[in-house]
Amino acid sequence: MKPAEFLSPTTLNDALELKHKHGAAARVIAGGTDLILRMRAQVLTPSLLIDLQHAALNNIKVSDKYLEVGASLTISEVLQNTRIEDLFPAIHMACRKFAGPPIRNRATIGGNIVNASPAADLVSPLIAYDAEIVLKSANGERTMPLVTFFTGAGKTLLKDDEILTQIRLPLSAASTNAYFIKLAQRNSMAISQLNLTTRLNLNRQGLIETARIVLGSVAAVPMRAMAAEAMLVGEKSSEDLFYAAAAQARQEVKPISDIRASREYRLQMTQVLVRRALLESIANV
C-alpha cells in the first residue's frame, strides 16, 4: 500500500470541509473492509483518508415520516436494532447473511452502498423499502431514492466533495410481508451469486397495494423488476400470480456469467427465488 495521510475529524462539518478541500484525492473511510482491500490492490491510491468513525453518523432516530439511519452504523448495529427488525425485517435478514461476525462489526451500511457492488447484500432490501439517501457537501445537501444512485458496477452519482450521511426509510413502506434471499456457495463469508428482496403491502381487503421485487447480482446495478411488480398490484396473493410474476422477473434481469455463477443459472434462479420470496412474504399473513 502507498502511504496516505490519515485524519479523524470529530464533527461532520470538519469531514465535509476536508472532502471539499481535497476532492477525489481524499477517500472517506468508515469500516474499511472494502477500501483497505482496494488500497492494498492499488486500485485506489488516496493521498488522504478521512475517518468517519468519530463524525457522529452512527445514530438511528425516528422522524414523522422516516426511520433515519446514520451511514456509519455497522452491520452488527443494524442487526441488533429491534426497530429495524420489527418494521423492515428484510434488512435484518440481509444483515444475518452478511459475511461473518468480525466483518459485520466493522463494515457499515453506508459503505455497503457507496462501494456500489452489484452483489451488495443490503442494497436490495433497502431499495425494496424505498430507501432514500442523503448526500452532504460543504455547500449543502441533496436527497435521492437509493435506486437511482447507482450508474454502473462500482459507480455512483456521489460527487467528489460529497459524503453519504444518512439512509432514510419511509415509515409508510414498513412491512413484515417481506423476504430476503441470498444465493451463495456458503452460508457465511460468501459473495452473492444472486440476492433479492420482495416486499408487499396489503390493503384491508387483503389485496396487494404495493409490490417491490429488487434483485442484486443480475445486472450492473441492483434493479427492480418493475413489470413483475406491476402484475401484482391490485391482485390477491396466490401461487399462480406469484409464479407468473416470477416468470416475468426472469425476462427483466440482465445477468452476466462470472466466477460465481453463469448467466443461465442466474436466469433460472431468478424465477425460482422470486416465486419463493413472494410466497415467504405472505407466509405469516
Binding site: 502511504p3 496516505a4 474499511g32 483497505i36 483518508l49 461473518g100 461476525p101 468480525p102
Partner: protein, 158 residues
C-alpha cells in the same frame, strides 16, 4: 507517520506507524504479538481476529490509526499469570486444533461469544465462528470444546 496510543492486553502503548499500516502489522511487527496470524490479508479467514473495544474484528481489515485510543485484546491476553484460560485448556483437551494457525482467531471469536452468552447452543457457537476458517481439524471438536469451557465458566461463577 501517525502517532497513536493504544491499550493492548491491558498495557498502554505508544507507537508511530505509517497511516495505512494495519492493526495486524502493528500487533505482530511493532509489538511482537504474533499470536494473531497473518493469513489471507483480506478479512476472509479469521486467523487475525482480535477484540477491538470488546468486539471481534479482523486485525488485517483495520487501519492502525482507526484503533487510536482504543483497547485491544489479543490471544496473548487470554492466559492469566501463566494459567491458560478455560477456553484454551478445553481446546487443548478436546483436540480442537491440529496445526494451530486458526486457533488464535478462533479463541477470540469464542471468547467474545461467551462474554455475551454463557450457555450457547452448538448452532450459536457455529454462528460465532462463521468468520473463522479451520482447514485441518474441522469444527466438531472445537464446538465441543467451547461447550465444555462454557460449562466450566458457568460452574465457576456460581
Amino acid at each position: 507517520m501517525f502517532d497513536l496510543e493504544i491499550e493492548v492486553n491491558g498495557k498502554q502503548e505508544q507507537v508511530s506507524v505509517e497511516a495505512d499500516t494495519t492493526l495486524l502489522y502493528l500487533l505482530r511487527d511493532k509489538l511482537g504479538l504474533t499470536g494473531s496470524k497473518d493469513g489471507c490479508r483480506s478479512g476472509d479467514c479469521g486467523a487475525c481476529v482480535v477484540l477491538l473495544d470488546g468486539k471481534t474484528v479482523n486485525a488485517c481489515m483495520v487501519l492502525a490509526p482507526q484503533a487510536n485510543g482504543a483497547s485491544v485484546m489479543t490471544v496473548e491476553g487470554l492466559a492469566k499469570d501463566g494459567e491458560l484460560h478455560p477456553l484454551q485448556r478445553c481446546f487443548s483437551e478436546s483436540w480442537a486444533f491440529q496445526c494451530g494457525f486458526c486457533t488464535g482467531g478462533m479463541l477470540m471469536s469464542c471468547y467474545a461469544l461467551l462474554k455475551s452468552n454463557s450457555n450457547p447452543t452448538r448452532d450459536e457457537i457455529r454462528a460465532a465462528i462463521a468468520g473463522n476458517f479451520c482447514r485441518c481439524t474441522g469444527y466438531q471438536a472445537l464446538v465441543t470444546a467451547v461447550e465444555q469451557a462454557a460449562a466450566e465458566l458457568r460452574a465457576n461463577n456460581v
